[in-house]
Symmetry: C2
Subunit: 267 residues, 2 copies
């Protein structure tokens, strides 16, 4: 259990104080938080709550959305929040194409520039930026970064201690290049975060909330964990599942199933 | 208009005789057919109908689904039907993971072997097999071939006149490697079929029926057409859109909009 972490999006409707108490009770050492958690309880309160419970904050979701007005200031705030809550990593989801645009190359180039614009602030705050490639089904409206290779290319101009990548099994499992790219990510010292969810079908409308808890789908989760380990990653393994039918259940029951799935299919 | 072709799936509820008459009236030179069209009218009747109207059959959809029982015989029948209807190309959609399996590498290896098993029959029938990579959102349940590079790797062991690939804008637009791979496909003489649809969101439940007519979405359609042309492809451009709201409209109205979108955004 020492690497297991619960990403709070998995139990979206579990209030943070209950989530923290539940994690402590279940022997969970770390939690991945969302900015929404911090907004709901106040950054300092949330930070104190987690710290006093002895939990590590493994990551903060999320910055990015570089296609939105005010992205620079918003991302600086996200970096500050990550620092305040003790998260070593801020996950960046790039955003999609600007409204009406078909220029994917330009959108991707802008992401690279936006990351560069954030690096000094992130370094000063002691927060590592982590570029997350999302599944290509999100390419137009959520994240133009659609493969691990592409995320590594975007990170490449910046020091690895400032900019890493997120490896999320849900987004990357279909890619026949992913094993090569995980090895590359290790060599280049870029693996900042490892998240686990399973792929289940049919996908729901909008496709955002179609993930499965570990073991309920078709992803070779253990192979991913072994691959990131072989690439030199020894950090937390966050279970991060967005699914309406998971959110509808009691947080503790979901946590217990996430732990069981992790132990059986990932660890 | 000389390269435009209507794939009959775009006007799924337009009976074949009306579709053929509508295409002739609109000056459309070619149609891509489905095995369902042939089953509904009889292979010989359908072939005569199209031939007597002076239309070319640009492709037959589809073979593949190599995870299904009886796939070998079923695909031999599909090849025979393609030959009977005068389709130079049989589109292959590989099928997904076998039920309960997580072994994507094995499923992909089986696809390669299955293609090999079909090559002699296809060559004897004068039908070119065309491996179609589908969007990665279909990887588990419809097509384990998820990128153009992968399709080309699968085709590689076989002569290019026997096994080519399908380049479909809907499935490939997100891939930052696609331009390189289109050039490779040209060098390796593998471009057997070029299909056009646009990407629109939000995706519907099940994600199969979410395509847009050319110009309604965010894909750089002309860039794709120019890229396949630059790679040496001079064949038909099939408009192939699956969408409930398109199917609900009169066939002729959809055809006219497909032509207009093609002329404005592709040609």
């Amino acid at each position: 259990m020492k690497r297991f972490a619960l990403n709070s999006a998995t139990t979206k409707r579990w209030p943070l104080p209950e989530l923290v108490a539940g994690c402590v009770d279940a022997g969970v050492p770390g939690v991945g938080l969302w900015r929404e958690d911090l907004a709901a309880y106040g950054v300092d309160n949330a930070a104190a709550l987690v710290r006093e419970a002895g939990l590590a904050v493994t990551s903060l979701c999320r910055g990015g959305f570089f296609d939105a007005p005010g992205w620079l200031e918003e991302n600086r705030r996200a970096i500050d929040e990550a620092a305040a809550v003790g998260a070593p990593v801020l996950v960046l989801v790039s955003g999609g194409l600007p409204a009406g645009s078909r220029d994917l190359d330009a959108a991707r180039a802008h992401v690279g520039e936006a990351i560069g614009a954030l690096v000094p602030h992130a370094q000063a705050a002691g927060v590592r930026l982590a570029v997350e490639p999302l599944h290509p089904m999100f390419c137009s409206d959520r994240c133009v970064v659609a493969s691990l290779g592409q995320a590594l290319d975007l990170a490449d101009p910046y020091p690895p201690e400032a900019v890493g990548v997120v490896i999320d099994t849900y987004h990357l499992w279909w890619d026949d290049q992913v094993w090569t790219q995980i090895a590359r990510a290790g060599r280049e010292n870029r693996i900042a975060c490892f998240q686990v969810a399973d792929w289940v079908t049919p996908l729901p409308a909008g496709v955002l909330l179609g993930r499965g808890l570990p073991g309920t789908g078709c992803v070779e989760l253990r192979r991913f964990r072994e691959a990131v380990d072989a690439a030199g990653y020894a950090g937390p393994v966050e279970v991060e599942v967005f699914a309406e039918q998971v959110w509808a259940r009691p947080g503790r029951a979901v946590l217990d199933e996430a732990i069981a799935g992790y132990l059986t299919h990932v660890a």
